[in-house]
Symmetry: C2
Subunit: 218 residues, 2 copies
């Protein structure tokens, strides 16, 4: 059958099938500098709305620090055992200055006269100024989820094991990692490394609703 | 320099660099059945919180329908010219029945006794029952953004041009595509296809804050 063959022959799908939410990492193994480099660059390349990138990623590789995160992470041992813990953060607010810095960067990178960019810059500043802080925060947090989706797929491609974590206490992370002082707020945690050989979750069949159920053609 | 070489040699990063938000599609070209198959399967393989997949994707390949979406999409012509328009949707509510269906699926796919799954199933049902509808909606919408991040990266890998769109009127999409009747609410639009040869945005330099600015090492 045509689709069956295609399915098997798509390297991308094979890799996406390979990934799973790693429940137990091999604490003795670290990701190579090259793999970490790819994850950082991929994070920076994530598409965000308007290209604003209201995001930063804290990359932790420090077993002592990682161990201290466990109680703030619903006791999930993954953050202690992973090679690196990536914490995806958003800006605490979207300031006029942040937007201006972005447009200055566009002007310099693309050699675009500021006058051409000005109307859109003004529109964006006005548009954010009219919104409630919580609405802006939700919008920024959604951008962090784009980064998560990107990073999980990049991990799959690079055969990096990963566990995405929503179950943690953002305020405790913010305090412990001194994120507020950096005008950041933690949104998502991604533990990355190598699966432990005895992680029983690695062999469980993937559960998905299936294309027939989740895709509607029109 | 080591990192410079690594950067150039990483196929993943080269592909992520290739992608851009396509502003003008070639309306005469369609994506192959194989590429569309990959996008649908990749959507279904997207990681979601608890594995619940509170998402569906409407895949539109109908030029007449696509043209009618333009006024609900801030007049962005991409939805008319793209090969396909993908509309990422969330469930209108997270029902006890939805959660039960998921656990029944886990039990059947993994051959796990229902009794083993029951405590977690009950925990999840109770946990959602305690939350406000808007909080659940925001959480579901965030899951749609993971799918967007995944799909954008898969598009880059598969050399599919894409334009992610937040700038549309979800309520008008919901009515026009009769999504409410399917218990769905539109969250994101992704136009996919082939870039037009004269899309001037294809040649613009990518603007990014850079790893030095967006990554903090600890």
């Amino acid at each position: 059958m045509y689709f069956k063959d295609t399915y098997m022959s798509s390297e991308t799908l094979q890799k996406l099938n390979w990934r799973y939410a790693t429940k137990k990492f091999d604490a003795t193994r670290s990701l190579s500098a090259e793999k970490i480099h790819i994850l950082k660059e991929a994070f920076n390349l994530t598409a965000t709305s308007y290209g604003l990138q209201p995001l930063k990623m804290v990359a932790i590789q420090n077993k002592e620090l990682q161990q201290q995160l466990v109680p703030f992470t619903m006791k999930q041992q993954q953050v202690a055992d992973a090679s690196h813990v990536l914490v995806l953060c958003v800006e605490t607010e979207m300031t006029s200055n942040f937007i201006e810095t972005y447009f200055n960067k566009v002007a310099s990178v693309r050699n675009t006269p500021k006058a051409i960019l000005k109307p859109f810059e003004t529109f964006l500043k006005d548009s954010f100024a009219e919104k409630e802080a919580e609405e802006i925060n939700q919008w920024m947090e959604k951008q962090a989820y784009i980064a998560l989706g990107n990073l999980l797929t990049v991990c799959a491609l690079e055969q990096i094991d990963a566990c995405p974590i929503e179950g943690f206490e953002p305020e405790k992370y913010d305090t412990f990692l001194q994120l507020k002082e950096k005008n950041l707020h933690s949104v998502l945690v991604l533990a990355v490394g190598h699966r432990a050989e005895d992680d029983m979750f690695a062999d469980l069949k993937k559960v998905r609703r299936g294309v027939g159920e989740v895709v509607i053609e029109m």
